[in-house]
């Protein structure tokens, strides 16, 4: 059942907004790093503001000529909302979206489950490049949700822009009001979103059947913000190699400019072409990958003991890459080409 546009909800949203003193047509010029909340953008007192039938409100603002999303200056949206659902609400879905020039950047989704004789169950979620995915559950009629996210590239342009908060409602949700708290607005930052860079390679050397070797990796966040709730993993794409022990490593947080190092242990089962994909990612970051291909040659002596160091093995001889040919493992970075644990 579709109720958008015929909402039974009474939506309290931000009202707009006469520009403050000093602002020219098209809104306030957002020209410095910092928080440009609704007050600073020229919004009056916003909370609460109930307007039946109203499902969206907009505020104009301006950006300096030539503004783009990065690489030095980054634009974010801050959406702080207080949705209130009627105790008599039916079940359904509520989606609150913050956007600039109709390019959505902030979202909060609320699933409302009606419960006879009890307050509705509210399951909310937000998703952004700052905090990743967040979810929660509340019993009652009121939520306080705060999220920020980088604007879409096309949501940043020099000149006049429009900040909009809108509500879409599906099913039988009955909303009392939704307030946009006055600390919502535009944020200008020097901090780029997290960006993961992955290095993984085997030193140029020969691998024989029976070898167990360490595959070292280094995962770096070369963005400014922390990558959260991520993982690095590897996968052998042939029966020639077998991963020994852990195939993946999770991390809760990797700060900007920091790195994560370690190694995976791999065992050469038999001779032949082999490929290993190492990949990484985080909830709020990209998914770099490295693909390592080569050939395992037959052992010319009894197999080495497990976990031996290949470089220390008499069967393994490190020589120059120029002589490697197909007998040697080579790595090539394929940024954003694969992700961990895909099978």
């Amino acid at each position: 059942v579709r109720l958008v546009g015929a909402l039974t909800l009474a939506v309290g949203m931000l009202a707009l907004l006469s520009p403050p003193t000093g602002a020219t047509g098209g809104g306030v010029l957002v020209d410095r790093v910092g928080d440009w909340d609704l007050s600073r953008l020229g919004a009056p007192d916003l909370d609460p503001l109930v307007t039946p039938e109203q499902t969206e409100s907009s505020a104009p603002f301006r950006l300096p000529p030539g503004s783009t999303q990065g690489p030095r200056r980054w634009y974010l949206i801050h959406m702080h909302i207080v949705p209130e659902v009627s105790l008599q609400s039916g079940s359904g879905l509520l989606s609150v979206i913050g956007s600039t020039d109709d390019h959505a950047a902030a979202e909060a989704t609320i699933r409302v489950s009606a419960r006879p004789g009890k307050p509705p169950l509210l399951r909310w979620s937000t998703f952004d490049l700052v905090n990743g995915s967040r979810k929660g559950t509340a019993h009652g009629e009121r939520l306080d949700l705060d999220t920020q996210n980088y604007l879409q590239n096309r949501g940043v342009r020099g000149g006049a822009n429009t900040l909009t908060f809108a509500v879409k409602s599906y099913g039988h949700v009955k909303v009392t009001r939704i307030s946009v708290v006055r600390d919502s607005g535009i944020r200008v930052s020097n901090l780029s979103p997290p960006h993961l860079k992955l290095d993984a390679s085997i030193p140029m050397r020969q691998v024989h059947t029976g070898d167990t070797f360490c595959l070292p990796y280094r995962l770096t966040d070369d963005g400014d913000r922390a990558a959260v709730r991520g993982a690095i993993g590897l996968q052998s794409l042939s029966g020639v190699l077998k991963v020994v022990g852990r195939r993946s490593r999770k991390f809760r947080r990797l700060a900007g400019g920091k790195n994560l190092t370690g190694c995976f242990h791999v065992h050469a089962l038999r001779a032949g072409k082999a490929r290993i994909d190492v990949s990484a990612g985080a909830e709020n970051a990209n998914h770099p990958a490295v693909s390592i291909a080569g050939r395992v040659s037959a052992a010319s002596a009894p197999a080495q003991s497990s976990h031996s160091s290949p470089l220390a093995s008499p069967l393994v001889v490190a020589i120059a890459a120029a002589t490697g040919g197909s007998l040697w493992f080579r790595s090539r970075r394929r940024v954003q080409r694969r992700s961990p644990t895909d099978s």
């Binding site: 579709r2 958008v4 546009g5 015929a6 499902t55 969206e56 999303q69 879905l93 989606s95 979206i97 956007s99 109709d102 390019h103 959505a104 950047a105 979202e107 989704t109 979620s125 998703f127 952004d128 490049l129 990743g132 995915s133 979810k135 996210n149 980088y150 604007l151 879409q152 590239n153 096309r154 909009t164 809108a166 509500v167 879409k168 599906y170 979103p193 709730r229 991520g230 993982a231 690095i232 993993g233 999770k250 990949s279 990484a280 990612g281 985080a282 909830e283 970051a285 990209n286 998914h287 954003q336 080409r337 694969r338 992700s339 961990p340 644990t341 895909d342 099978s343």
Partner: protein, 228 residues
């Protein structure tokens, strides 16, 4: 978003999208399940996803169902938003298949969807062609990157005479067009970008079991507005 979409407009949508298939023109095979040699990961922006959906929780060429040939982008904060928006044309549901997407925790996830279709139990008396799309996102119910915003991917196909003899399923390219036309009615013509990005899942017209493949490999992008 309320728009006056007439019954005739919806009927025309599907009447013009269907392609008459001469079944003798495509070579039948004995394959029990469909296979796709173009199965691969698509890396776009920060994210990655498989360019086909699957009949089971197993990434394999002989477990694919249909090519991913649609992207709903900008403000798809939940796949049910798209389903609800297009409910005027696709008001039935089908069987469940599985999409493989990444955008959360650096890991891949299976997302199940039974999709939306315009008819159940299609037949030559009522309606031969049921157009069916399935839409997938991450466990957060959406994917996000700076270029596409909040988005979800989808596959599409036709279920022809499901409740009749000579049934077949496929022609994804035609189903893609039907979904695009419905989206144009809902979101406006400017919101639909036919065959915008190459997803490398070209499938020439051929028959494989009950599958009739047809896909040009280019996905249509549909912009979902952020406001009602």
């Amino acid at each position: 978003m309320i728009r006056a979409i007439t019954t005739a407009a919806v009927a025309a949508l599907f009447a013009t999208a269907a392609l008459s298939v001469d079944q003798t023109a495509v070579e039948p095979s004995n394959a029990a399940t469909a296979t796709a040699g173009n199965l691969r990961l698509i890396h776009k922006q920060e994210d990655a996803f498989r360019n086909y959906d699957f009949t089971s929780y197993h990434v394999a060429r002989n477990k694919v169902d249909w090519p991913i040939n649609l992207v709903f982008y900008n403000a798809v904060t939940n796949v049910n938003i798209v389903k609800d928006d297009l409910n005027f044309a696709f008001n039935q549901t089908g069987s469940t298949m599985h999409g493989r997407v990444s955008d959360s925790g650096g890991q891949f996830f299976w997302d199940d969807d039974n999709g939306k279709k315009n008819a159940l139990c299609s037949n030559p008396i009522h309606l031969s062609d049921a157009f069916h799309f399935r839409i997938y996102a991450s466990p957060a119910d959406s994917l996000f990157n700076l270029k596409w915003g909040f988005y979800a991917i989808a596959s599409s196909h036709i279920d022809h005479d499901e409740c009749w003899v000579h049934k077949w399923t496929g022609l994804s390219e035609n189903a893609e067009l039907a979904v695009a036309k419905a989206a144009a009615l809902e979101y406006g013509q400017n919101a639909v970008h036919i065959d915008l990005h190459n997803f490398y899942n070209f499938e020439p017209l051929r028959r494989e079991g009950s599958h009739i493949w047809l896909n040009d490999g280019w996905a249509t992008f549909i912009r979902v507005p952020g406001s009602p």
